[in-house]
Symmetry: C2
Subunit: 462 residues, 2 copies
């Protein structure tokens, strides 16, 4: 029996015994407390493995604990169950019996952790937290970029969670075995288009296809209007450089493609702001190399000027590729692939080119508009709406807030599923499936669907 | 340009202009009125093409109009948008901006209609109605079993709906082209495991995979407890025969596998009830042949006795396959494949075999328990819960009511997607995807997300 098989069998046994929302909320709170209690040790290990700053990692522990507690609250509130109780109506065609619908957990799920958030999208990150909230045991495939931290976090999880509810597996073979395993009912993934697509293809070609929720590549377009540039070119440039260089540029929401008005002064302001941008070390040598290749590819493209900040050996220098919209439009695919690391592409557009450049985009996790004070951008917003899971105004997409209204998804290639979000309350929805009870006795019904709504959850009764 | 391409391009143009929920509700009501106004002509054409009875077809027109009006009500109510408005909180880690989330239509969708419901799951059936309610233009692939009826219904639709919102295409090649078309954003399908899996495989192997909501094969297990058999064996047998022979046995919810207590008297009662069961004509010669093959395959299986009612040439005789649980458990896969038409498999179990037979099942659209008065069936219900989208008590799964709490889905092979339902309010969910607005000006926001909730939809504000 392989490690994956042992974990999956244990998870299936765990999933067969129902748990209460209150129990699971307690587990999530205990996990939050456990990582906070081990904060210093976790942060030190993460620093050694990821080269991210202590401030960032310390903040990420805080964020991760907040996420775990947030999902505890989501589980307790119970609205995520989408409970509906409908009374019989024999006069209808066809007649309606007593029908009661809610969501139930799918069963054991696989979580493939991200490279770039060693806590918040890793072993006890959003995928794990939302799956536990939903009532699904989790088998985590560790990211090879922070193996010791993954193991340390996994030990904390194993101490808190009951048998079968959590396991950590490592290595690419285990990852493939996991998504093929008959007891695994769904998978969550954060990573590259190539890796995500390969696992997605396995998930959907199983004899029994399973949902695969992958967050893959995102260019996160930003459009700066002429009015916005006229009002605050320097602020926008400073904000952009801060956002795309933040934490080594390793954000899935990094603004990777920025459209600025030709002659609006933003390009010059970016040249200036780039001078002060800090160099950074990427997570792995492979990522350092991929970043250098990405920058070199852009620099070799005719019509593209690449600006670079300074860096010492082993670090990646923040870089900005500058080009005209005509260059972009002649070959948009060269500029639409995500390049992890501190790089952004700035495209100068003439006013009559803006519709065309927006029309050439692919879906992303986010799209951003910087507008002038009171400027009407409804048409531009409508054009960007099908291209983004989150549409921002006058801000930067990095730093994804936790909340009931958050959505961290978007069309292909930013995710593999139209309901995908790994952040926010609805992240639980991925691990659930509906069931309707027809004319069921009260003692068979989950308490959430019983007469009188004894657990007082948000519910539609009619 | 092919017919599919023309339809998809027109649908994409239609989808690019937002519509209001009120407009779409009006369209759905006009469609309901249009099929009612043409009821006599539609029913006559359907009789000629499907061989179903006038009463059934007349009732199905009534049902289809009710569905269209039901989805008009769902669109008007607006709760399906899952709107959430969340105020900023700068004290959080990370800080929370103004976030507002709702669902938006995916874009043009493809609908592959069913053989067995020439109205309710066809051109203007649940898939089309729910997609229009959600705001997605629809391209319908007609079922070859009722081509003239499909065309007549399509003409009614084209008269009611604006340009681009509806098209009908025909033929297998068109069906394949449709699911491959870059402008098609999702697909709904009702049909066989083989046909559905082939289209699913195409949908997920596109360069940009799209959601494919297929309802495929379902055996719909029924468990009759010993107490239920002791109380009402004859009633159960009569109900079973009525359900599995209803309308030529062409229901995706037909009870196809029934577990009865050995020596409980249900088998004898079924022998008796079968005598009076009417023979029926299948929709197509291919289905007649497949049914005969299915019955012959069971009859040839060692340990299986097949009972047949009488039938005249060209009709299918209702049939019951009888076997012991030990025979079933030795080779469950021979008894788990759906066989369309008036056939059911009755398995006699000893009390110590019940756990094993339930453990051998695959997921279905429904599962049913017949229990004794006041009998505790919580353990049996828990075992069946992961195996069914709808769990019924003391009834029969045929006749799927329309409502807010309905769910018509289930695990593979009954459907391809864990959120699939083609019946009930949440059928709209398949055609939608979330978007979150961050710090958006009021005039950019859809009215459903504006301050003060001006359209008074169900919304979570916090």
């Amino acid at each position: 029996m392989t490690a994956v098989d042992a974990a999956a069998q244990a998870a299936a046994r765990a999933a067969s015994t129902p748990t209460t929302r209150e129990e699971r909320a307690g587990w999530l709170e205990a996990l939050a407390a456990a990582i906070e209690a081990d904060r210093a040790g976790l942060v030190a290990l993460a620093r050694a493995e990821t080269h991210l700053s202590e401030a960032r990692l310390d903040g990420e522990v805080t964020r991760t604990a907040a996420q775990l507690r947030f999902f505890a609250g989501v589980a307790r509130e119970g609205g995520y169950l989408e409970a509906v109780v409908e009374s019989p109506d024999p006069s209808l065609v066809p007649p309606r019996p007593d029908l009661r619908r809610m969501l139930r957990p799918l069963g054991p799920v696989a979580v493939y952790t991200a490279s770039n958030f060693p806590f918040a999208f890793s072993v006890l990150g959003n995928d794990t937290a939302s799956a536990l909230a939903a009532g699904c045991p989790v088998i985590v495939k560790a990211h090879p970029g922070h193996p010791e931290l993954s193991r340390r976090t996994a030990r904390l999880a194993a101490d808190v969670l009951p048998d079968g509810w959590f396991a950590l597996v490592e290595g690419m073979e285990a990852g493939v075995e996991l998504v093929r395993h008959p007891q695994v009912c769904a998978a969550g993934f954060t990573g590259s288009v190539r890796g995500g697509r390969a696992l997605f293809d396995i998930a959907v070609s199983r004899p029994d296809p399973i949902p695969f929720y992958g967050e893959l590549g995102s260019i996160n377009p930003v459009v700066v209007t002429r009015a916005a540039a006229a009002e605050r070119a320097a602020d926008i440039a400073a904000g952009l450089v801060g956002s795309f260089t933040r934490d080594a540029g390793q954000y899935c929401t990094k603004p990777g493609l920025v459209f600025v008005p030709e002659g609006g002064g933003v390009e010059d302001a970016v040249r200036q702001a780039l001078g002060g941008a800090p160099a950074s070390r990427q997570l792995t040598p492979g990522m350092t190399e991929a970043f250098a290749d990405g920058v070199a590819g852009l620099a070799a493209h005719p019509g593209v000027e690449v600006l670079r900040a300074s860096a010492t050996e082993g670090e990646s220098a923040p870089a900005v590729a500058l080009l005209a919209a005509s260059t972009f439009l002649a070959d948009p695919h060269s500029f639409l692939a995500e390049c992890f690391g501190p790089l952004t592409v700035v495209v100068a557009y003439r006013d009559d080119e803006l519709d065309a450049v927006v029309g050439a985009l692919e879906p992303s996790l986010t799209a951003t508009i910087h507008r002038g004070a009171g400027e009407d951008v409804t048409a531009l917003a409508a054009a960007l709406t099908p291209l983004a899971g989150r549409l921002l105004f006058d801000g930067w997409p990095t730093g994804v807030a936790i909340g009931w209204a958050q959505h961290h998804g978007g069309g292909w290639p930013s995710t593999t599923a139209s309901i995908h979000t790994s952040v926010g309350a609805t992240a639980t929805r991925r691990w659930l499936t509906p069931i309707a009870y027809q004319d069921a006795p009260q003692d068979v019904l989950p308490p959430e669907l019983r007469d009188g709504n004894p657990l007082r959850i948000p519910r539609r009764d009619s």
